[in-house]
């Protein structure tokens, strides 16, 4: 973990060597900004900082990074306990609720409203605002978004008798094609769906049926009905009809980029990595997720949102300016070009001067853009067991993938176990 707070930088002579400007006596505000996953985001944040520094020369920004979102959440929770919080932190959507419920994140709506009475006029449409709305208030502003897409190996699709230009759009046909690819032999596998890691991709199937994780009042599970069962049955069919092997996510990605896997369903955030991994091995294509319910079907949104934690008014003001810039059209255009995530500002999406050329040159990124209209927030469970619920679901789905339990049994156990983990309310 790299921690470069202002205090640490002033205290350690070694750090001064790398940040001589800290010592320059100037009337300027200095803020600390935390973000996770520098291996994905570093170029984007550096580009945003360079552009921001030109616009606001009086604000000095120090970055603190953590290798992943999990450690990022730990860092903020630890620092909240010792009163050493950074001024602004970019956290995964599904972790935001923890901070909102523990009183660490601040309500951003007054600040947004102070700039524009109707947030949509500055690009914050209600859909985009909803991505960072947790704990009953605007606890974050979406910075980078992703949704699940289909990646496929056009060469294998063709060899199995499919048409890469007309990839099937419903699960029945997709599974049939995957089964054909699986039977090509020579160690070739049909398909892989990212069911492990977390509940995000399961929610893609559930939301695809129009289902919910919990009921509207969040008192009971929402996947105990027909939508949940249909989603679990789909996973069962992936194994039985699509020839889905039992792989870890890393192993599946390796198999796919090695040209041994027909299709893989995962976040669009990995487009860059998949493209580099595939190289010239095969023709990589992307398309939207197979449609389950055309009218009610939705998809979850992954990614990160910035949340404000500064208490000092001057620093709070400076941190807000940075957050506003990073989520504005200019900052978003820089973020998209440097990562492959989806923009979270409607102006950056609509106005071709920002990203029009980028999408013309990088068609692999387009599959996710087309799914923006049906994307809804990543569901985060309430209470202190929020993350544990996720693991409980993954553990249960593993039983289907390994063929040790029927979808019906898994639905029953999963519902019972998750119910026990929900907060008890009087």
């Amino acid at each position: 973990m790299t921690i470069t707070t202002r205090r640490a930088a002033l205290a350690t002579p070694a750090a001064m060597l790398f940040m001589p400007r800290v010592l320059r006596a100037q009337a300027q505000t200095e803020i600390t900004v935390h973000y996770a996953q520098p291996f994905i985001y570093k170029e984007a944040y550096d580009a945003i900082l360079a552009a921001f520094a030109k616009r606001e020369p009086g604000i000095k920004v120090n970055y603190v990074t953590t290798p992943n979102y999990e450690e990022g959440a730990q860092l903020i929770l630890r620092q909240a306990a010792t009163n050493q919080l950074p001024d602004l932190s970019y956290q995964g959507f599904n972790r935001l609720r923890v901070f909102a419920e523990r009183g660490i994140a601040q309500d951003l709506m007054p600040l947004v409203k102070a700039e524009a009475a109707d947030p949509a006029t500055i690009g914050y449409t209600s859909n985009l605002l909803a991505l960072g709305h947790f704990g009953g208030f605007q606890s974050g502003l979406a910075f980078a978004a992703s949704n699940p897409v289909t990646y496929y190996n056009a060469d294998l699709v063709r060899r199995a008798g499919g048409d890469p230009d007309n990839f099937p759009t419903n699960w029945g046909d997709v599974l049939q094609l995957a089964g054909k690819i699986d039977r090509l032999g020579d160690g070739t596998e049909g398909m892989w769906f990212t069911w492990n890691g977390d509940d995000w991709m399961f929610s893609a199937l559930l939301f695809g049926h129009g289902g919910r994780m919990l009921t509207e009042d969040e008192r009971d599970v929402g996947f105990a009905g027909p939508d949940g069962l249909a989603s679990l049955r789909l996973i069962d069919r992936m194994v039985k009809e699509g020839g889905m092997p039992n792989l870890s996510a890393t192993a599946a990605r390796q198999a796919f980029t090695a040209g041994k896997l027909g299709m893989i369903f995962q976040t669009t955030a990995l487009v860059r990595g998949m493209k580099e991994g595939a190289g010239n091995n095969f023709a990589l294509r992307t398309t939207g997720m197979p449609v389950i319910d055309l009218a009610k079907g939705r998809l979850p949104t992954g990614g990160a949102a910035g949340m404000l934690t500064a208490k000092d008014p001057a620093r709070r003001d400076a941190a807000w300016k940075f957050l506003r810039f990073s989520t504005g059209p200019e900052g978003q255009a820089l973020m998209v070009r440097n990562t492959g995530y989806l923009p979270c500002n409607q102006i950056a999406i609509d106005d071709p001067q920002y990203l029009g050329q980028f999408y013309r040159e990088n068609p692999l990124f387009l599959a996710a853009v087309k799914q923006i209209p049906i994307s809804i927030p990543w569901y985060a469970f309430p209470g202190t067991n929020s993350v544990r619920v996720t693991q409980t679901m993954v553990d249960n789905i593993a039983r289907i993938v390994e063929g040790r339990a029927t979808p019906e049994e898994v639905q029953r156990d999963m519902a019972a176990e998750v119910r026990r983990l929900l907060p008890r309310r009087s």
Binding site: Q74, I76, R78, A81, V98, L247, D395
Partner: protein, 303 residues
């Protein structure tokens, strides 16, 4: 050394000498206090609270964490998996290390080379090596299953099937430990006086097995005991390979003690409960050390 001999010269020490003594031990004592004793005591205290990372307050809940441990299916699986893992890794890598050490000791050429080769896993970075194992054991593109396919056997999904995941991790554990044990046994073997073998031969121990049974094995006693305990503690500590390769999955089939502790504390933020798991771990390690010293005192001697 007994306490009496230590206590005897004490009255004659001048105050200045005592002070100098304290000053000289101060850095080590302070480091021990701050880096080891204080965190351990803090962990013990935390284990009796409901503290969660980021929570504004904590409550003293007595033995509730431990009561929960007894009913926690995840913890029971983690404990069972850890015991199984140790039961595979410890005997295999101890006997394997001994066998390799005897082979290298008996050989005339390439001793240094073989020693270096088998010791390499010990000095390599576990996380980086885990990535290499991930490739070797990859179900579709890995060399191991490719070789199996070549002879007509469908290889299992080593790390992603709950049937084979623990065995695969144990194999990696053996690979990590065997070189370390080998070096310890080599040191033990060189310490055995040559003339004892000659004497045994004169007394009629003509076969290699008899010489091993009558000379090598008894004289290696202290080394073996040390190797067994150190291997067991190292095996109980298994974490890196699980964290990198399987994250305890699928469906907790590779959940082990330290990974459960990490998950509770740093993924679910329940530091109090996590501290309780740490105490269980600490108890196991202390029991192993206690066992070693007891057996050492009692019966391992050059009889």
């Amino acid at each position: 050394m007994s306490e009496a001999t230590l206590a005897l010269p004490a009255p004659r020490l001048s105050a200045g000498e005592a002070l100098a003594g304290w000053m000289l031990t101060a850095p080590a004592a302070l480091a021990f206090l701050l880096m080891l004793l204080a965190p351990t005591l803090a962990t013990i205290a935390l284990a009796f609270t409901d503290y969660e990372l980021g929570a504004p307050a904590l409550n003293w809940i007595g033995l509730e964490n431990f009561a929960e441990l007894l009913q926690d299916r995840g913890f029971a699986i983690a404990l069972r998996n850890t015991i199984l893992y140790v039961a595979i890794v410890a005997p295999t890598s101890v006997l394997g290390g001994l066998a390799l050490a005897m082979l290298i000791e008996a050989g005339t050429r390439g001793r240094a080379l073989f020693r270096a080769i088998f010791f390499l896993p010990v000095v390599s970075l576990p996380v980086a090596m885990a990535a290499a194992w991930q490739y070797l054991l990859h179900p579709t593109i890995g060399p191991l299953n490719a070789a199996l396919r070549a002879v007509g056997v469908a290889g299992p999904n080593w790390l992603s099937s709950s049937d084979t995941v623990l065995i695969s991790l144990a194999a990696i554990g053996v690979w990590e430990n065997i070189g370390f044990n080998l070096v310890l046994f080599l040191a033990g073997l060189t310490a055995i006086p040559r003339e004892l073998y000659a004497a045994a031969e004169v007394d009629g121990a003509a076969r290699a097995w008899d010489r091993f049974r009558l000379v090598t094995w008894p004289l290696l006693g202290p080394t073996t005991l040390f190797v067994v305990t150190i291997t067991m503690t190292r095996a109980v500590r298994v974490f890196d390979s699980v964290a990198v390769l399987t994250q305890g999955g699928p469906n907790k089939a590779s959940e082990v003690l330290l990974y459960a502790m990490y998950e509770e504390g740093f993924t679910y933020f329940r530091l109090g409960y996590s501290a309780a798991i740490t105490l269980v771990f600490l108890a196991i390690v202390l029991a192993l050390v206690w066992l070693q010293t007891r057996v050492m005192e009692r019966r391992i001697h050059y009889a």
